[in-house]
């Protein structure tokens, strides 16, 4: 019997392309909690997070064959799908219910309870790493990353909301990603 837990992401995807539901289940077991955690952290809504998680993995099931290894890692592909789907849901909810405040100061608060969904049981130890990564960023850069990544605002909206020139927002995003990359790599190497 195949032990799917021992297969690599690529091998599982190959099985999924052959419509192997065991491989699909194994891939979900490997990444489901992270995808759900990401959605729960951003949406702060368990039911919506379940929907997003299902959509993400059904996309893997149906379109897994479109993933091209030469264009990036599987996790990059998977989490990009997960984040985009989560942001889409966040924007839809915002349009439907205006449930998210337009107060920029309220939105931008990494220490607030708003980004710690009580019902999602997100492993806070890892989130501490994310929070730590963000804290290495200067205040202005951390702000644009937070508003875009966690709040789904476009760079144009951020510029309008914060009163910053669009070019400045773009620059800060670029600088933020560079520093974030270094910080995350250090954490990874540190783990090893």
């Amino acid at each position: 019997m195949i032990n799917y837990q021992e297969l690599t992401d690529q091998e599982l995807l190959a099985e999924i392309s052959e419509k192997n539901t065991d491989a699909f289940a194994a891939l979900y077991d490997r990444y489901g909690k992270r995808v759900f955690g990401l959605a729960a952290r951003i949406l702060n809504d368990s039911v919506k997070s379940e929907e997003v998680t299902q959509d993400v993995f059904m996309r893997v099931w149906r379109r897994g064959h479109t993933y091209m290894p030469d264009k990036g890692k599987f996790t990059t592909w998977l989490f990009r799908i997960a984040h985009n789907r989560t942001i889409d849901e966040l924007r839809r909810l915002r349009r439907d219910k205006s449930r998210y405040s337009d107060d920029i100061t309220e939105r931008y608060d990494l220490e607030s309870d708003e980004i710690t969904p009580p019902e999602a049981a997100v492993a806070n130890s890892e989130y501490e790493q994310v929070r730590a990564s963000l804290t290495v960023l200067p205040e202005a850069q951390r702000q644009v990353v937070y508003l875009s990544y966690f709040k789904g605002m476009t760079q144009t909206q951020i510029a309008e909301s914060t009163g910053q020139p669009l070019g400045t927002v773009k620059t800060r995003m670029r600088l933020a990603l560079k520093k974030l990359r270094v910080a995350l790599e250090n954490e990874i190497y540190g783990d090893d």
């Binding site: 195949i2 837990q5 419509k19 192997n20 539901t21 699909f24 289940a25 979900y28 077991d29 489901g32 909690k33 992270r34 759900f36 955690g37 990401l38 729960a40 952290r41 997070s49 998680t53 299902q54 059904m58 099931w61 149906r62 264009k71 990036g72 890692k73 996790t75 990059t76 998977l78 989490f79 990009r80 984040h83 985009n84 942001i87 049981a121 997100v122 492993a123 806070n124 890892e126 989130y127 790493q129 994310v130 990564s133 990353v145 875009s148 990544y149 789904g152 476009t154 760079q155 951020i158 927002v169 773009k170 995003m173 670029r174 990603l177 974030l180 990359r181 995350l184 954490e187 990874i188």
Partner: protein
Amino acid sequence: MTRDEEIIEDFPAYALGALGNEERRAVEDLIERDADAAKELAEMLDTVAEFSARVGEAIPPMAVRERLVSTAKAEGGGTYQDSAFSSLVSHLENRIAIEENEREHDVKSVWQRLGSLVTAGRLAFATSLASFVIVGIMAIQLGVDNVELNQKVSDMDRDVAAAYARAEEILNEMSSTEELLNYAHERISRQDQEIVRMTELNDALRSSMNDQISLTYATLRNEYQSPEWQPDAGLTGNGYAYLLEHQRKPLGALVVGGVEQAPPGEEYRLYLIREDSEPTYVASFDMNRAGYGTVLFKLTIPMSLYDGAHITRERTADPPDPSLASPQNLYKPQ
């Protein structure tokens, strides 16, 4: 700055999901035709993906996994294991993963102590345990199914028995109805026979009555003689009458048949008629139940001197009224 350079400036926003649809498509178009740009963007996407992977785990409900696997199967997916079995294995693996995570963080939990007992064979143990649980659940489920099935069979048997009983009742009712119908037919048949018998009796009675009239007439004829004329046979519908005159005495006789009895308080009266004088009352009489009557009366002059006879039906209490004798009842000599 070229258009492509402007698009490349949007790469960080693309990686963070902070572009509108149009800008996003522009980025994707560019990386399709610019490998260097694609590489630059891939690095940013990796960074964000690493970030996303570290946002944190949360354990979704087991139903999410069940729905995903069942949907995948519905869309043509195959499996090597029962989904419930896989779910249990996955559940146990999740618990084991939690144990490991807690152990790494030096958290002494029940699961950690359990995990220390289960080493390399943990998965095998979990699989065996899951198999045992599945077999147990299936056995219980089969037992429940069997009980439900027996109950359904019992219910169906009861329904069939009730249907048979009802059918039997209907057949009995039909049988009763048929018996009633037969009885009615028999009664009708008997009544028909009775009618036939009564008709025959009536005919016999009529015949007997005629015979009696004929016999009376024949008896009287020994001493009486018929006048030259006789009453009209159409006296009262089917009625008929014979007048006779004694050969040696001044007596007359009237024999009537086929005439109904007079109602109570009334009687028939015979008048003899001469054309040049008033009708002469000669006798009163009634019919018996068979419609037969005979009366003798005195003659003051020979019957041959009369021109005819007249019968009326008058009140018994009233004296004879010759004026009631109408020409319609006039007995003409033949």
